[in-house]
Structure formats: C-alpha cells, structure tokens
C-alpha cells in the first residue's frame, strides 16, 4: 500500500509527463525517499499504482544503481572510485572507511547506521577525492577527517 503522501507526490510527477508509466522511476524514488529502499512489497504497490507489471517495473528498478532493491543503512555513503579520485588516492579513504566502520563496499554496519557504496565520478574532480553522504558532498577528503564527518550522521 502506498501512503497518501506518496500518492500525492507520485501524482505530481505523473502530471509532468504524457504517459503515466513515464513517471515510474520518479515513483520508485519517491517510495525510496519515504521507506529507505524498495522492497518487493513496495515494488508491487508501485507497479499496481502505475498500472505496470511487477516484472516490468523490477527490470527498470534494477537497472538504476541509485534505486535500492536491498535494505540500506540510515545513511548512504557514496565514495567516488572514478579516475580523478583514483589518481588522487581514493583508496586511502576507502581503507579508512573499512577500518573505521568495519565494512566493505556493498555492506551495511551492523547497527544499520551506514551503507558504503562505490559511485561513479561525482563531478567535482578538481577537489578529488570526493564522496557524498546522503545529500551532502565532501571534497578534498583526507582520511583523518572521516571520523569528524561521520559524527554528523546519527
């Protein structure tokens, strides 16, 4: 079941496109915003609401890397692993995350606080290495800053 708030937001997106189905990625993003991720039951609810088959919607949901079909932590860390950040040593930042949080790419801390994911170029290459936590971008990241940065996310 979709909440009335989710339905209201989805309808706003549907109004911007000529075919209902065209708003399905937006619908998935809306549900993910409210629920953290898109579970099978969430997927079914969105598919019904968008008048699509579950299989068709799942083929779309699983295509896009920022639609989460598995549970994620309360905060998602996206660490850029593309070329400029590689040259500038993102691996040191990754090592620091591994030491500090005890998780590798694709994993979530046991307390459900953080999920760590690699991400393609974040478009801030003159300030590499870069990462995002939820909606915030961090630039020129040094290993020793991580603890302080992570403190902001409970």
């Amino acid at each position: 079941m979709l909440s009335s708030e989710e339905i209201k937001e989805i309808e706003h997106e549907v109004a911007q496109v000529p075919h209902r189905k065209a708003a399905c990625i937006e619908a998935l993003k809306i549900v993910q915003k409210h629920r953290g991720w898109v579970s099978d039951s969430s997927l079914n609810a969105v598919a019904d609401y968008m008048e699509m088959s579950t299989a068709e919607l799942d083929s779309i949901a699983t295509f896009y890397n920022l639609i989460f079909r598995k549970p994620v932590g309360r905060h998602v860390i996206l660490l850029c692993d593309s070329i400029s950040c590689w040259v500038m040593g993102y691996e040191k930042v990754y090592d620091a995350f591994k030491n500090h949080l005890g998780i590798h790419f694709g994993e979530t801390t046991p307390d459900g606080r953080f999920t760590l994911l690699p991400n393609v170029c974040l478009g801030t290459c003159d300030h590499a290495p870069a990462l995002m936590i939820d909606e915030d971008t961090y630039r020129d990241v040094k290993e020793e800053q991580l603890e302080g940065i992570l403190e902001k996310y409970k």
Binding site: A22, I25, S59, S82, I83, V87, E91, V120, C121, G123
Partner: protein
Amino acid sequence: MERPLTKNIHIDRPPLNLKEYEMTGGYKSVRNALKNMSPEEVRSLIQESNLKGRGGAGFNTGMKWSFVPKGPDAPATKYLIANADEMEPGTFKDRLLLEGNPHQLIEGMIVSSYAIQATTAYIFLRWAYKEAALRIRQAIHEAYEAGYLGKNILGTELNLEMHLHTGAGRYICGEETALLNSLEGKRASPRAKPPFPQVSGLFGKPTIVNNVETLCNIPHIVNHGADWFRSLSYSEDGGTKLYGVSGRVKKPGIWELPMGITMRQLVEEYAGGMQKGYNFRGALPGGASTDFLTEQHLDIKMDFKTVSAAGSRLGTGTMIVLDDHTCPVGFVHNLQHFFAQESCGWCTPCREGLPWVERILLSIEKGEGRLEDLDLLSFHTTYLGPGSTFCALAPGAMEPLQSALKYFREDFERHIHDKKCPYNGNHIH
C-alpha cells in the same frame, strides 16, 4: 578576455535570483528573439556562429536544430532537453553552470525552444547534483512567476512548459537516446538510429537534446551576434570553452577560456604545472573516453579539429592528467572497470567484451599477464571500436586503451616481464 558564460558566477555566494540576473542583462535574448527574430533566424544565427556541441560530439548546434521538421505538417508537440547528466569521469564543467547561474540555462532553453518551436522542455539532471537541483527548481519557479515560462510568454504566442527531471544513476543516461528512454520511464538502453531524435525522439516526437554548456551560449550569441561569438575563439570553432584540469597538478580547476587555448597553457599556466616531485606523462584531454595525448602534444590547440588531428577528441574539454608516479596500466584498468560496470548490457560486444578487457588489465597489473595479452587487448580495441556496437560507449572506452598501448607500451611490457607492477600496484582494489 571575455567570459560570457561565467562572468556572473561567483562560487562563494548563491546564484543570481531573477531580478539580479535581469539587472545584468539577463533574459534580454528572450525579448530579442521573440520580438525581433523568426525561429528560423535564430537557428541560422546559431549555425553561423559555429557553436559546436559542448557535450563532446562537437556537432554544429544550428545544423542539429535544422533537422527538426517544420511547417504545418510537422508534429505540433516538440521537445527540447538539456542534457545535465554530467557523468563522464573527470568532467565537472556543467556543474559550475548549473549551480552558478541556473537562469542562464533557462534563458538559453527558452530561446532554443523558440528556434525549434518546442512546447515542452526538460532538464535531465544527474542525481548527485543536489545543490543544482534546488537552485534550478527555484529559478524555474521565478521564471514562471515573471512570465518567461508558461502560456503566451512576454505576450507572444509562444507557450513553453519546463520541468526538472532528476536521474537515478547510470552513466549511459548521458547518451542522448538512452536519456530519452530514461525520461520515458524505461531502462536507459540506447536506441537505434535512424530515426534520429530530431525527427522521432521523446515519446516519438521531434526532440533536440543539447548539452548544458551549449545551451548557456545561446543567449549571448543572440544578444551579440555570430561574428562576436566567433571572435571570442582562437580557432575556427566559435566561442569560449569551459576547460578543466584534474590530477596531480598544483591548482586543479575549471576556467572559461577562448576556444583553442593550448594544452600547455592549461596545464602550466592555469593549473599551475605539476605538483612538486611529479612529472607530466600524458592526459586524457576531454574525459575518460578520449585518447591519451602526451608531452609531444602540449602545444596543440584544444579545439575539436586540432585535438582530432592529434589522434584524440576534445570531448568535454576537462583534462585528466597522468603523472609519472601513477601506473598507466592501473589508470586504464580503472577506466575499463568504469566502462564495464556502466555498459547498459544491451549489445553483446560491449556487455561481454568490456569485462574481459577489465580482467585482462587486472591480471597484467597484478603481474599475471602474458605478452599475448597485449595482442588480445589490441584485438578488443578493434572489435569494440566504432561500428561494432550499438552506441558509442564501448568505442569510447577503447580510446584511452588503444592510446595507452601505443604510448605506454613499455609499462605494459614491464609489468609482464617483472611479474609485478613497477609502481607497487598500490592502486588495486
């Protein structure tokens, strides 16, 4: 030196609101175009200015617009799309325009929509550009309030609706036909061409997809003319260009400069040269999918024609520098990891070939390579090259590989001969 695109961008403060933007001459081109020019006059002015697409392909923008069907028999619904899905590794130029002056983009889109008679415009923005999304939403809202968007713009017959669409990830969305599929709520697989989007694009209607930087140039060309625009450039491609440099240089950054500035000026003057203890070995001149250029090319002009003649592409104009402490094999492995991961999976050569290339490079980097692997890599650069795949992703991926095999062959051979990475292989993940 004139900097039309960035003169009103100050990174240390919020972008100009609509009133402030108007005080700098903002939205003047909408008045100029709608009141004094026909759509065809706008289009031919842009073609004459020799504005070439800033997304990387370098096609004449006015020419691209000319393929949109016109006249009473043409479909009434047409679309204009700003490609703001900047995801080419090493590229960070459109972010500056999107965050720094969203009204400039909206103004360019209104005039461009008029030229092609589009009725709806979308900005396809990548997910990660959160700050840009907030600022664009606010700017679109202000433009509606002021009557620059909506029905009967400035009392004319032009109607234009504009929407911001934010993505859900995947590099391939930047490919213009994949972008259309994504905007239609589908998997972002590229489409067969023809038909070209100009004739049958979004929802089957005539559609123009232009890069953000391309669209931001339009108001200035309309206000100041084609001759002025061409005079900004040091080369035959018109205008200024946003150039960027990243890697181990002293001052990585982004600058609006005359089109055709040399690579040396960019690296040594603007980026301040290499960091202490590091030497320049080469660079990808315009993003991850361009061929390496090396020291012998430092004095070439960074324009579409000259960079092509040197064996690479200007691409996005944002350069990634390879230094002498960084392993070229590891560098190319990182790129191929990216391309293999970002293949949409639609066509077999790309879906299957790129992971093989990635694995071969990894084995060489780990000291497990054989000399025959270099032939195997060369084989892939041919069979994943232009004409063998559905879109330009795999051919783009092969550009840095084929040029690395050419310019840094001794590095590949040393890995194989020594059975280890001479740079300590500290970059494998």
